[in-house]
């Protein structure tokens, strides 16, 4: 059975910053929605369903905060539901919006969200609460420490050094300097990153993503709608999700399926979206990638999980410039999550950026002749992974 195609016809994103004292949380959602509708040249009435993108309620300090967002997305009396897969929420929302259209329910769907991470004090305090109270809540686990441990295992397995990690930050900041939406857009050097203060060994301050405030929104439409109105669109040709065991300790020891050093379930998620899109040789077929990597070290295993390098092989290739703008397969030309992280929408921005890339609308960060791009989102304790293939 052939599934009719679904296209992305509009994207909107804030200029991300640390604090947005001028706007409430719903204001930030509305900001991005207005931008996306404008980009799609549509009005609120054209939207038939909304998928709301929001990860932990505790980040914005409002229980079931999507209820407050209903007005911001113009969903009164419309189809509306909310997705939360942790950090992967944004891409899971885009994919859920895709399912609305692919199921034949309606022709035009909006997905949107925002985060005001700065308002909850330390996000690590909130993120400590994602761990199960039975065995792990009392340990000082947070996303930084959890991924620092991934770095430790990756170092042990493949010989990654702290300078290798710093190199990822340098690359992404250089990319972000060309992106007017990025939060941290100041270029930097390996020395500067190495000299930044140590947070959780081996992760230093400049190996970490910022806490960003801002919104993201996208409009998806059916192929029929797009053709009838002769709209420009980026086509969603592959989607997929996969997840790992919640237990970090099960990804270690003996007999594990997934090693906490790698991103096994991300690889499995890409297998699904690649199969759908007919991508059987990613290194040849992928022109550009926006891979969710909130810490410098995690970009390596994400690149490998996407099949763009062998396990452990991305380190030297990144050093050689293969994944920089101008290189063979630019990874995170927007600057990526490392430079901007509004958790509720970060993974949506990955998809939005690829949509811009394959339609030639990525400004100074445009990858030349980009026709096929991939996007990924990670959530939970490196547990949930959503991936997409988006083409011109």
């Amino acid at each position: 059975m052939t599934t009719p195609r679904v296209g992305i016809i509009g994207v909107g994103q804030s200029k991300f910053t640390a604090r947005r004292n001028d706007a409430s949380y719903p204001d930030l959602v509305r900001e991005a929605v207005v931008l996306a509708l404008k980009d799609a040249d549509l009005a609120f009435d054209d939207i038939k369903a909304v998928v709301y993108s929001l990860s932990p309620d505790a980040m914005v300090g409002i229980g079931n905060a999507e209820r407050i967002g209903v007005d911001a997305v113009g969903a009164k009396n419309k189809r509306f539901l909310r997705i939360n897969t942790g950090g992967a929420t944004g891409i899971s929302s885009v994919i859920s919006a895709y399912y609305h259209i692919a199921a034949g329910i309606c022709d035009v769907v909006l997905t949107a969200g925002a985060d005001k991470v700065g308002e909850c004090g330390d996000s690590q305090t909130v993120l400590n609460k994602i761990w199960d109270p039975t065995y792990e809540r009392q340990l000082p686990l947070g996303t930084i420490t959890m991924l620092a441990m991934s770095a430790v295992r990756y170092m042990h397995k493949y010989g990654m050094t702290e300078e290798d990690m710093a190199r990822v930050t340098v690359k992404n900041r250089m990319h972000a300097s060309k992106n007017p939406h990025a939060h941290l857009s100041k270029e930097t050097t390996i020395d500067e990153v190495m000299a930044s203060r140590l947070i959780s060994w081996p992760v230093k301050l400049m190996d970490c993503c910022p806490q960003s405030s801002g919104g993201g929104a996208m409009v998806l439409a059916s192929e029929k709608y797009i053709r009838e109105r002769k709209l420009a669109a980026a086509w969603i040709t592959g989607v997929g999700h996969c997840s790992e065991s919640y237990y970090l300790g099960d990804r270690m020891g003996r007999g594990f399926v997934a090693d906490h050093a790698d991103a096994h379930a991300l690889k499995r998620s890409f297998e699904r979206s690649y199969a759908m899109a007919g991508v059987n040789d990613p290194q040849k077929q992928v022109d550009v990638a926006e891979l969710y990597a909130p810490f410098s070290n995690t970009e390596f295993h994400s690149i490998e999980a996407a099949g763009l390098a062998q396990l452990g092989g991305s380190i030297s290739q990144l050093r050689e410039g293969r994944f920089s703008l101008g290189g063979e397969i630019p990874v995170n030309p927007s600057g990526g999550t490392l430079c901007t992280n509004a958790i509720a929408v970060t993974a949506m921005i990955r998809a939005a950026e690829i949509a811009l890339q394959v339609t030639g609308r990525a400004g100074d960060r445009q990858v030349r002749r980009a026709k096929l791009g991939i996007a990924s989102g990670n959530g939970g304790d490196h547990q949930f992974f959503g991936t997409m293939v988006i083409e011109a």
């Binding site: 400590n128 039975t134 065995y135 140590l198 959780s200 906490h260």
Partner: protein
């Protein structure tokens, strides 16, 4: 124009049922200073911390296996940054595969000098042997025990 803000705090208490498996694990720690895992028959793996079922095989686990007190480090980190609600830095913690276990359990590493990160990281390198230490007065939770690296030979 003047911009206002509001302070809000969440005041919710939880009483989480731990179930029989976790309860056995913690009562053994509290009363006997012993650690146990549960075997998943399908994969053969002894899961620590123990669970009533394996999320990989979706089968109930079948038997208790005493594990530790020795073990080896599978992952670690050393925290130097202060976060609200989390301990005063520096502290080291990570995951240890206890002897006779196949998965690793989280816990704090104590008894080593953390002032020099690189040196501490060497002491905690993956594969390093550790011993589980128990608090004199135990409540029946994960903070009743911690791991200490063996002295340098």
């Amino acid at each position: 124009m003047e911009l206002l803000s509001r302070q809000e705090t969440w005041n919710i208490a939880y009483d989480h049922a731990l179930g029989e498996t976790a309860s056995f694990f913690f009562t053994q720690i509290r009363d006997n200073a012993k650690l146990y895992g549960r075997r998943d028959a399908k994969s053969g793996r002894v899961l620590v911390p123990p669970r009533a079922f394996s999320d990989q095989t979706l089968e109930p686990t079948t038997e208790w296996v005493e594990v530790g007190p020795g073990g080896q480090i599978e992952a670690f980190t050393i925290v130097y940054e202060r976060f609200r609600g989390l301990p005063e830095p520096p502290y080291a913690f990570g995951y240890v595969m206890l002897d006779r276990a196949d998965t690793a359990i989280g816990g704090l590493f104590k008894g080593l000098d953390l002032v020099d990160p690189a040196a501490a990281a060497k002491r905690l390198a993956i594969g390093s042997r550790v011993t589980t230490k128990f608090a004199d007065h135990r409540k029946g939770d994960v903070l009743d025990f911690w791991f200490e690296v063996h002295p340098i030979a």
